[in-house]
Symmetry: C2
C-alpha cells in the first residue's frame, strides 16, 4: 500500500495529476483510510495501463470506462478486448502515418544538406519532382503517397 506522494515519485507524475485521475474515476476500486488514498498493486497496474492507453490516444473518459469494466469482472471481458483491439488497430495505423512523416522529414533533411552545399535551390528545383537520386526519389515518393 502506497500513499499518493510515493506513487507520484514512482511514476514521475505530479500528485495533482494522480488526484485528477482519481476524481475522473480512473481508480474505481481505490480504498481510503480516514480520507487518505491507499494505492495498492491494483492501482499501480491501473496506472501502467493508463499510461499505455493515453499514449495510444484514448481520452480520459474512455479510460474511465475501461477501468469501470475492470471493476465489474468477467462479464466485461469482451468489451475490454474489443476496446483494446480497436486501440491496437489505431496505433498500427498511426505508426504507418508516422513512417510517412518520417520519410518527409528525411527527404527535407537531404534537401537542405544539398541546398547548403550548393548555396541555393536551383539544382534541387531542376531535380524535382522526379529526377532525384534513386534512393532519395524512393523516400520522396513514399512521403508524397
Amino acid at each position: 500500500m502506497f500513499t499518493i506522494g510515493q506513487v507520484s515519485k514512482m511514476f514521475g507524475l505530479p500528485v495533482s495529476t494522480l488526484r485528477y485521475y482519481d476524481k475522473e474515476g480512473l481508480f474505481p476500486s481505490m480504498e481510503r483510510q480516514s480520507g487518505i488514498r491507499k494505492f495498492s498493486e491494483n492501482e499501480l497496474e491501473a496506472l501502467r495501463v493508463i499510461e499505455c492507453l493515453k499514449k495510444s490516444g484514448l481520452e480520459i473518459r474512455e479510460i474511465k470506462q475501461y477501468m469501470q469494466w475492470c471493476k465489474e469482472g468477467a462479464a466485461t471481458y469482451s468489451d475490454r478486448k474489443e476496446l483494446l483491439e480497436k486501440r491496437r488497430q489505431t496505433v498500427e495505423e498511426e505508426m504507418e502515418r508516422l513512417n510517412k512523416t518520417l520519410d518527409m522529414l528525411r527527404f527535407k533533411c537531404w534537401y537542405y544538406e544539398t541546398a547548403i552545399r550548393d548555396g541555393n535551390e536551383n539544382r534541387l528545383n531542376e531535380m524535382l519532382p522526379d529526377k532525384l537520386p534513386p534512393e532519395i526519389q524512393a523516400i520522396y515518393n513514399r512521403a508524397h503517397e
Copy 2:
C-alpha cells in the same frame, strides 16, 4: 491560384482552420487580391509541410518560425535543417515508444482472449509475470521495459 474554399476541399481542412493558420503567420508570403486570399503552389506546399510538421509534434508557433525562415531565403538553410533533424529524431523516438505501447496492447488482447476462453483470470494470474507462453512472454517483457 486558389481560393480558401478550394484549398479547404483539396486538403479536407475547414476554412476556419486555414484562416487560423494564416492569422498565426503560417503563410508569410501569401498574397491577396482586394482582400481575398490567393493560395499559390507555394502555399499548397507549405500546407503539406504543415501537416507533416504537425504530425511530428511541432507546435504552431514553431511551424511559423520555420515558414518565416523559408521566406528569408538561403541564409536560413542550416536553421531549417537543424529543426528538421531534431524533428526526425523526436519522431524516431516516438515510434519506439509506440512500439512498446503496441506490445502492451497486443499482450492485453491475448490476455482477454484467454480470459474469455477460461471464463476467469485464475490461470492467467498463475502464469504472470514469468510463466507465460514463450511468444507472449516476449511481448509482455518488451511491453514492461
